[in-house]
């Protein structure tokens, strides 16, 4: 279980994340939503420990992440926004490289890789160099790279951004399977239909603050909206909307 309490990040006078709190339980997919520049990516990066928080707490199973960084590295899989691949290596080499860096035993690594190839339908591209891959193909490989060590906590920053229908479906199916495997999944998006399809709960962030959180039905009810998109607009752009 991940708990985020009063998370805050400032860069000099600029407040990137003001006050963010939420929690995610195993087997749950939580959408971190908000307009561009709301502080989603910064929040995600603080969850990975790559960026130090200014104040607040991030607890995993009740313990602060800073005290368990080594453990976090092996149990966390994060797909950053725009994650790049090594163009001169094949898709397989890209993924195996990371598997080795996660110190996976060879047999386990290749078994896991075969699973991911099947789940993401990568059979045709797996042994091609990634130079010239389409955006969708790149995302699939990056996603497989993120999941190669079978992480318990999964952070995905805009994973379905710019993907075609088939790829989006494959990613969606994969996420639902991971949910069944009792993973903790946080994903950020600004595509509301994606959120509608996948998330159990949503946390709406605007100007570095949580403006609403709850199940999608709750949020719709709260804002008296027909669709989640309407609800989101009311929650995220409160005061801005004409």
């Amino acid at each position: 279980m991940i708990e985020v309490r009063n998370l805050r990040k400032t860069y000099g006078p600029v407040v990137a994340v003001d006050d963010v709190s939420f929690s995610v339980s195993p087997g749950e997919i939580v959408g971190l939503l908000g307009p561009n520049g709301a502080g989603k990516t910064t929040t995600m990066r603080m969850l990975t420990g790559l960026i130090k928080k200014t104040s607040g707490q991030i607890l995993i199973d009740g313990k602060d992440i800073e005290s368990q960084m080594t453990l976090l590295r092996t149990t966390l899989g994060s797909l950053p926004d725009g994650a790049g691949l090594y163009p001169r290596l094949t898709a397989r080499e890209n993924i195996v490289y990371f598997g080795s860096l996660y110190n996976l035993p060879k047999k386990q690594l290749h078994q896991r890789l075969d699973e991911l190839i099947a789940l993401l339908h990568m059979e045709a591209i797996i042994d091609r160099r990634t130079q010239g891959f389409s955006h969708g193909e790149q995302t699939k490989v990056a996603l497989a790279r993120t999941l190669i060590h079978d992480p318990r906590i999964i952070l995905l920053d805009e994973p379905t951004n710019g993907l075609d229908v088939l790829t989006t479906r494959a990613v969606r199916q994969l996420l639902l399977q991971l949910k069944q495997e009792n993973k903790i999944i946080i994903f950020s998006s600004h595509l509301m239909h994606e959120v509608d399809h996948l998330c159990d709960r949503a946390v709406v962030v605007a100007n570095g603050k949580v403006t609403a959180s709850g199940s999608l039905t709750e949020l719709k009810k709260e804002t008296a909206s027909e669709t989640f998109e309407d609800a989101f607009v009311k929650l995220a752009y409160a005061g801005v909307e004409a």
């Binding site: 990516t41 910064t42 990066r45 990975t48 790559l50 960026i51 130090k52 080594t70 590295r73 092996t74 966390l76 994060s78 950053p80 725009g82 994650a83 790049g84 691949l85 090594y86 163009p87 001169r88 290596l89 080499e93 490289y97 990371f98 080795s100 860096l101 996660y102 110190n103 990056a142 790279r145 993120t146």
Partner: protein, 386 residues
């Protein structure tokens, strides 16, 4: 250690697949080696053509002993053409030496016969030759004068109360130290330039492609990531340095150094010593490349900064080549010390153990300090979002 090896394997494979970058690595050293070949052969050619110095003489038959003396001293004497003085005035002839017809007569009577050297003093290009001819003739005259005094029982020394002795430093040693300074410079530049492309790709490239964040998310610590990449760059650099040394080891003993009066061999043991001397420098140059690359956001930015870094070996190299003096403190300065050790190896004077120790220590201290700075860069938050 395993992650370091994993990174090394990946980076080597990645670099070896970059065919175009690989090709460019070899172009500069190949051109440099060609340069040595051309410089040495050109020098030999120039020196040989300088020796064939022709002096037209009018009245060769009147003073055969002087003509013989000149010919013994690398001057080719030819009979002067008709109207020689007019031709010199018109600039068609450089100079002419005129021996008067009464030379023998005056000589026998202890009168001082005058030879005339006709040339244009304003022509700087022939001034050296003219002076040389005058000195040669005077030397011959002094010899005769000395003989005359001896015959009369007087020591010729009474005529020279003082004399100035030439101490020509453009001797074979100095000439060869220029050539070997060039060899050392080529080796230093090779050590500094070889891995630049690879280093930029491994650091700035990783930032530009946005793959660095994923790499830092693995359990591998930044310092291990850095060591893997550093090792890759070192291996590449030393591989190319070894190739260049091998090529020089083959080429230098076959160049016509002896015709220049220069000692010019490069024994296999010298090659080996040079390689050992260059090892710490390879560690330093590659970590500097990596440091600059990780501090740059893009490939292009890194390239322009590394271009500036290249001024360093060139500047220090020229300083060492042109200044013949060596002080002990210089062996404590990284880069300069390597350059000087290489010259010690090449100059046959050999290396001093203390100098090797000083140079290696200083270079490695700098290298590890730079690696600390680089791993600090990798730990900075800015590296991810910047």
């Amino acid at each position: 250690m395993r992650p370091v090896v994993t990174i090394l394997q990946k980076e080597l494979r990645d670099a070896l697949r970059d065919r175009r970058a690989l090709a460019t690595i070899f172009i500069a050293p190949a051109l440099n080696i060609l340069l040595i070949f051309v410089i040495v052969n050109l020098s030999v050619y120039l020196q040989q053509s300088a020796k064939r110095f022709v002096l037209p003489v009018q009245g060769v038959e009147y003073a055969q002993p002087i003509v013989d003396w000149l010919e013994e001293h690398d001057v080719e004497v030819t009979p002067a053409p008709e109207e020689a003085i007019e031709k010199v005035t018109a600039g068609k002839l450089d100079m002419v030496l005129i021996i008067p017809s009464d030379f023998a007569e005056k000589f026998d009577q202890f009168d001082t016969p005058a030879l005339q050297l006709v040339y244009d003093k304003n022509r700087k290009d022939i001034l050296g030759k003219a002076t040389n001819i005058k000195i040669q003739v005077q030397q011959w005259a002094q010899q005769i004068g000395a003989l005359r005094l001896i015959v009369r029982g007087v020591s010729p020394k009474v005529l020279s109360p003082v004399k100035v002795q030439d101490y020509d430093i453009s001797s074979s040693q100095s000439g060869s130290s220029m050539v070997f300074g060039l060899v050392a410079l080529i080796l230093t530049i090779t050590t500094f330039t070889t891995s630049t492309g690879i280093a930029i790709d491994m650091m700035a490239g990783e930032r530009e492609r946005f793959s660095l964040e994923s790499l830092l998310l693995t359990p591998v610590t930044p310092i291990k990531i850095l060591f893997g990449k550093w090792l890759t760059a070192c291996i590449f650099t030393l591989l190319v340095v070894a190739l260049v040394l091998f090529a020089l080891g083959l080429l230098i003993p076959r160049l016509p150094f002896s015709q220049l009066g220069i000692r010019g061999d490069l024994a296999p043991s010298d090659v080996l010593q040079l390689f050992v001397v260059l090892m710490p420098l390879a560690m330093l140059s590659t970590i500097l490349q990596l440091f600059i690359s990780i501090s740059s956001k893009t490939y292009k930015e890194a390239q322009s900064y590394i271009g500036l870094l290249m001024i360093l070996p060139i500047f220090v190299g020229y300083f060492v080549v042109w200044s013949d003096v060596s002080h002990d403190w210089q062996y404590w300065v990284p880069l300069m010390s390597t350059q000087m050790l290489m010259e010690d190896v090449l100059d046959t004077q050999g290396m001093n153990a203390w100098h090797i120790a000083a140079s290696t220590t200083a270079t490695l201290v700098f290298a590890f300090f730079a690696s600390w700075l680089t791993s600090r860069q990798l730990n900075r938050e800015k590296i991810i979002y910047g």
